[in-house]
């Protein structure tokens, strides 16, 4: 095991960096797509709500692997596309991976945000209206901040699934952490290659979970102490 890490350590680090790069980018880009998508899903105009629903239905109803295949293998079918300048980007596995991950996570995230928005207490919305807020201001100041707090744990779960799903990048030849582990395994037929990668993923997710929970507590600190925390003896007030 030690020998394996000594020989291939740099490879694992490289893979780790690629994984982080792609996951972070797709989380940020996915969120930027997800918020407008969630708002469009709530629209009363069917011409806006329906295409967005179809997008979310497709990306949540098919495996991520198939979405990667569509981008990586599928697009080559359209010869006219290959003559355009976008092809410079689309022929790269890295970009196919980024686009696939982003569209996939945006679909799931938009559902989570929509769920959060639907759960915002009515009283808060009425209060905002009573204050004379415009719709835009109400969304910006009341609905979205509250929706994110409600959706926070579910959103964290989605990011964990995205991180695990990013291992599929290796199937379209991206050398992410999983991809590098497969290369190392193929060289020596040593199962430890997978064990090392598995431990790295596990630690990443473990640390992420802790950070996410701490952030949740900070986001909700305005709610005061939780009932469970109230059982603790009160601090002396001097």
């Amino acid at each position: 095991m030690l020998e394996l890490i000594q020989t291939y350590g740099p490879r694992f680090i490289e893979g780790f960096v690629t994984t982080m790069e792609l996951v972070l980018l797709s989380v940020v880009l996915g969120l930027m797509i997800a918020v407008p998508v969630a708002l469009a899903r709530m629209s009363r105009n069917p011409l806006i709500a329906w295409p967005v629903y179809a997008y979310s239905f497709f990306f949540r109803g098919t495996p991520l692997l198939i979405q990667f295949f569509l981008l990586y293998y599928g697009l080559a079918q359209f010869e006219s596309l290959q003559e355009t300048t976008i092809w410079v980007v689309l022929k790269e596995a890295w970009w196919c991976g980024l686009i696939g991950l982003t569209l996939n996570t945006a679909a799931y995230t938009s559902e989570i945000i929509r769920g959060g928005m639907l759960a915002v207490p009515h009283g808060e919305i009425e209060a905002a209206q009573a204050c004379g807020m415009t719709k835009a201001k109400m969304y910006r100041r009341i609905i979205l901040p509250k929706a994110f707090r409600i959706a926070w744990p579910a959103y964290g779960n989605e990011i964990v699934f995205l991180l695990k799903g990013s291992a599929l990048l290796s199937t379209i030849t991206v050398l992410d952490l999983m991809g590098q582990a497969r290369v190392v395994f193929a060289r020596g037929y040593d199962l430890n290659a997978y064990v090392v990668a598995g431990v790295m993923y596990f630690v990443m997710i473990y640390l992420f979970d802790i950070g996410w929970r701490l952030t949740e507590r900070r986001l909700n600190r305005y709610l005061g102490e939780r009932p469970s925390a109230r059982a603790k003896p009160a601090r002396a007030t001097t």
């Binding site: 949540r60 098919t62 495996p63 198939i66 979405q67 295949f69 079918q77 582990a181 395994f185």
Partner: protein
Amino acid sequence: MWEVLQFGDQGWGDEIATGAVFTVLLALASVVVGIVVGLLIASAKLSKSPLVSRAAFGFTSIFRGVPELLIILIIYNGTEIALRSLVGLFGFETAIEVPKFAAATFALGMVFGAFSSEVFRGAFLAVPKGQVEAGLACGMSNRQIFFRIRMPQMWRFALPGLGNLWLILLKDTSLAAIIALDELAREAQVAAENGDAPFTVIMAAAIIYLILTAASRGGLNRAERWADKGVRRV
């Protein structure tokens, strides 16, 4: 563009169709394994022994923290290596082929079991305590209470969570493509690499997945309504 979906030697239609059948079979086999594993892990989590429940929670967090793809590869290649060295002990030098379907079923079943144990645990705890007390008052043993009161009533609470996990599982069967099991995603990949209309074949596979997930959602909604029909609505 459409010729690629023909059946027979000309197209990939029959391969895609058998792939779809394999996908459904793999999902069904995995869900059976997964429910058994999930129930075992859930009862371990509810165990009074801290050692047993700790181990059960550890099991879940390992499967939550490691990509499914890696789990499939570790189980498949790990079994292969273990079998080879086992045979090596007796002085043979042959590679033994690990049955791919069994390996994939086992791996996906373990993942399903790890997640469903949380669903089952919550469902067991959701059965009102008064029911258990009523069983005790009737003089039932712990075993009888478990099988006659908690277990039958737990399913209704577990159904929505299990339904979600089933939808995830259905999509995760595509990961078995990595060990070249001939399910839908793998057949689509092969057809894309060897045919001249990759987008058409992969899109066909995607639509089959969509049909499977949409049909599952419909079926699950009906199952939930059926399970709740004897329950007073608040």
